[in-house]
Symmetry: C2
Subunit: 542 residues, 2 copies
């Protein structure tokens, strides 16, 4: 038979260490732009694993990161799973309460923290029950901080062994990473990735018919490393030996465009909001983007105008992909089949679809009458299955709502065309996607309805030029309050309970909320009614 | 955690059935050239699985194929493993005795046989102890035959269900295929592939940095489907939806060139002997090969002149790969790294190397003093490890000679350059590679030494223009026979015991065989001494 060789993250790491030691990672931090070879990164990664071992991290324990995209975060990506622990990337855009919840829920033992995120961690530190050590990801002196014990990342590395040997990982189904995702209501839900799922997913990113990540690529990873492992790009890039550009904190569209030009970036990945910003920048100033062979866009559906602008005006191939935290994330890819040689307009339209299942993943689209016809008309919920699709949420009773009969129920409503390409037409879940992040309309509604003047509240996602979608609150006031102008008062009320970017951009007062026969809000109707409400709006929320 | 979804051959098959049903397989048989869509192939494959089930094939049992490259063989590739049985592809170039041995050793229950191979099977039928049914892969009427029971492939399919459901395969480590490889001495040794190993290997063929098999490709698979699953190409092509061209029996270089031109082939794969023939054909007649993006060459080392001719004269990128039956086979690929921008001469030289390990496989090169330096000078035996590398031979006591301490000992002696690219410089095993097939020098020597006039015999592989290597017998006669011209007599003696193409092209009579301190033949010295012996020779052996 065949050797029982497990698929593991150290296997990917060691491939790069052996064969790509001269290749480069370009990393931007608060301190500037740095260049490291994979040879250097490999030694630093082994040092980090050794340091974490000395801090007492045991096999299977979680180590959290609160960090932007840079070389130290990349080192954590490989050091933590390679030592047998679990890389827990924490979404720093969640509210402090949610962040505290997930650190406690994951039982993180150590936190690796970027300097600008330190104040946030200091604020929630009293509520953290499992963290034994904090590490500041910087090469500056340690600041005064209530966090105890607080270590310097670079000091820890300096004191550790660059030739540290990873323990052998025998079971590829061992946990390697985890990431929490927003829930329709309540606290975020955790997804646990395994060594096997991460390796197979990286392999899928290397396939010629998906992103085709290769040694010849220079990949600018814009999607945050706290979002579904930055779509798996850091793992794939290391394994396949691509040059990586990690743009660090608080980058601007200008910085991204400059990186693309100067580093001759071939592939980049980010959410539509980022690419809207880039399109504006390209109108301002001339950049040479001729090296770019693919601009990967996911996280939410790309508008037609954006696809057209990149494809036709800027001659940048637009790679539209679909996935979610629960799916590692790559599930489908909007590449045309070789014989789909319709008009240019057909081609652009096809690229706005979510596309075809990537090899290894399987879909089933189920409507009221069972599996839908592939006629692009019948709608059904998209169900997914595959070796890099989650089977449950981590220690969460809500798992059963999403994972049924061996399938992940995505909550996305799709149609399927005759070739098998899917297109999202609606969401069954009440989540709003703003700038690549989820907002729970249900949580907003529940809070709004606790306001004494509010009779009914329905929050819907309305198309927005910059953020893709922004929440709009539709409110029916109690009779006693009708006619009063309570807009500011209610918005301020929300401000006391949610992160700033969760707050609806506006409130409209209506006489009633349209409802279905069983009394459920017909959000789709409201969305259609108000779809143009934010047109031309450029509210800045961060 | 992640779903426990096994990697299986029906998973690949069903992907093509759903998404690539309009793509085409062009298949040449004795009856002519046929075109089938994957939709048709899928239905025929399900029919075949159903037919085999009705013939009584049980889960885990072996079904043998003795067939060329065509659509029926492709159907067998998917039907047999998808129904839970084991696809045993039989090398029809082995001697009848060896073929009988491996059918009995594998305990094949059913044999699928091409019409032209029927006489061979009829000849060995009395010696077959496990076969319960024979199937003739043709749409012609059944001939009179001593084979009982003998079925017609097309009649079986016509009587079976095109919507037959495959049983679910829960364990990806279940056997899916097997293939026998020649041994240094004695009978061939069996390698068993699993569903997991075949799927992972297919994924490796889809990687941008290896062959990058994709939906946009038209792949002409010249390497026989009875050789290591035709290098896994049929599996990868189906999964990724490539158009396939299967050239059938007894093709000529002209036929291959015509297929390349008319079907606009993008990728093709075969052994050096085939490509030497193609080069000659290209000199004779003008063909448009501009669609060809890669000519995959493996099975034995490609001569520099061949690489140069394809790359420089015909502008066809030369994909030099390395592997063996025990390795599924893809292990390494001679692609240059992006920063290897030396002279054109350096580039061509690099392409003659065996290249870099493909992601997922691992090597260790061990010389007398342990692992060798990466200086391209120190030599060592190439050891391999990975999820598509065999861990043993099937029920064979010789396994321990090859599989030790978790590594496959290839018997190939290599050097490694500073970038990690390997180059084969010698073989520790006494095998001669002729036209992509193995000849055991030891078996020839043992037989030669039973001849009454022979004192010592040493058989070595000598470079040959058409066949890569051909055996040359170096013989020391007993004193009594010295000076006699026994060449023809000894060659005829060999003819009684070996397949025609095993017979050395010539015999040289020498005074002594050079030996090492412990009395072992120094074959390397003999090979060097006689290396030009077959230059200019064009012996036809088939």
């Amino acid at each position: 038979m065949m050797m029982n060789v497990p698929l593991t993250i150290p296997m990917m790491f060691e491939h790069a260490e052996r064969y790509f030691s001269k290749k480069v990672v370009i990393s931007r931090t608060a301190g500037g732009v740095h260049r490291f070879t994979y040879g250097e990164i490999a030694q630093r990664t082994r040092r980090l694993a050794h340091a974490l071992e000395k801090l007492g991290v045991q096999k299977g324990e979680r180590v959290g990161t609160l960090a932007w995209n840079h070389h130290r975060h990349l080192e954590a990506y490989f050091a933590i799973p390679s030592m047998g622990a679990v890389l827990h990337t924490i979404n720093i855009r969640l509210s402090p309460q949610q962040i505290a919840y997930i650190i406690n829920h994951a039982e993180d033992k150590v936190l690796l923290i970027d300097p600008d995120i330190l104040p946030l961690v200091e604020a929630i530190a009293p509520y953290l029950s499992t963290v034994k050590a904090f590490v500041l990801m910087s090469n500056t002196d340690l600041p005064d901080s209530p966090l105890k014990p607080l270590y310097s990342y670079e000091t820890l590395l300096a004191e550790s062994d660059p030739a540290f040997s990873f323990p052998s990982i025998e079971d590829e189904n061992q946990a390697a990473g985890m990431c929490y995702t927003s829930a329709t209501t309540g606290n975020p839900k955790g997804v646990v990735y395994t060594h096997r799922s991460i390796v197979l997913h990286a392999m899928a990113l290397g396939l010629a018919d998906s992103t085709a990540v290769s040694e010849r690529d220079t990949v600018l990873t814009v999607v945050p490393m706290f979002h579904v492992n930055a779509w798996g790009l850091p793992f794939a890039c290391v394994w396949f030996g691509s040059t990586q550009v990690l743009p660090g904190p608080y980058f601007t569209p200008q910085l991204l465009a400059e990186f693309m030009e100067t580093e001759q970036v071939t592939v980049t990945g980010g959410v539509p909001t980022i690419w809207l910003g880039l399109l504006k920048e390209l109108e301002q100033k001339v950049y040479d983007l001729s090296s770019l062979r693919g601009l990967l866009c996911g996280g939410s559906a790309a508008p037609l105008a954006m696809v057209r602008a990149f494809e036709e005006k800027w001659k940048v191939p637009f790679y539209h992909a679909y996935g979610m935290t629960e799916t590692s994330p790559l599930v489908s890819f909007a590449r045309l089949k070789s014989y789909q040689d319709g008009s240019e307009e057909d081609r652009i339209q096809s690229l706005t679809r979510q596309g075809y299942m990537v090899q290894g993943t399987e879909m089933k689209v189920v409507g009221a009458e069972g599996e839908v016809k592939w006629d692009d008309k019948e709608m059904g919920e998209l169900l997914l299955r595959g070796p890099w699709i989650a089977s449950e949420y981590y220690r969460d009773e809500r798992s059963d709502d999403t994972f049924k009969d061996g399938w992940l129920h995505t909550g996305d409503v799709v149609t399927v065309d005759e070739e098998g390409s899917i297109k999202i037409v609606d969401r069954t879940k009440d989540l709003i996607k703003s700038g690549g992040e989820w907002i729970s309309s249900v949580d907003l509604e529940n809070t709004l309805m606790t306001h004494e003047a509010v009779f009914e509240a329905c929050v819907v996602g309305i198309p927005h030029e910059k953020w893709e979608e922004r929440p709009l609150a539709c409110i029916v006031l109690k009779d006693l309050y009708k006619g009063q102008n309570l807009k500011l008062e209610i918005l301020e009320f929300l401000h006391t309970q949610f992160a700033k970017w969760w707050i609806p951009d506006d409130i409209v007062f209506v006489d009633e909320i349209p409802k279905s026969g069983v009394g459920k809000f017909l959000k789709r109707e409201l969305r259609e009614q108000w779809q143009d409400y934010y047109v031309g709006s450029t509210t800045v929320i961060d």
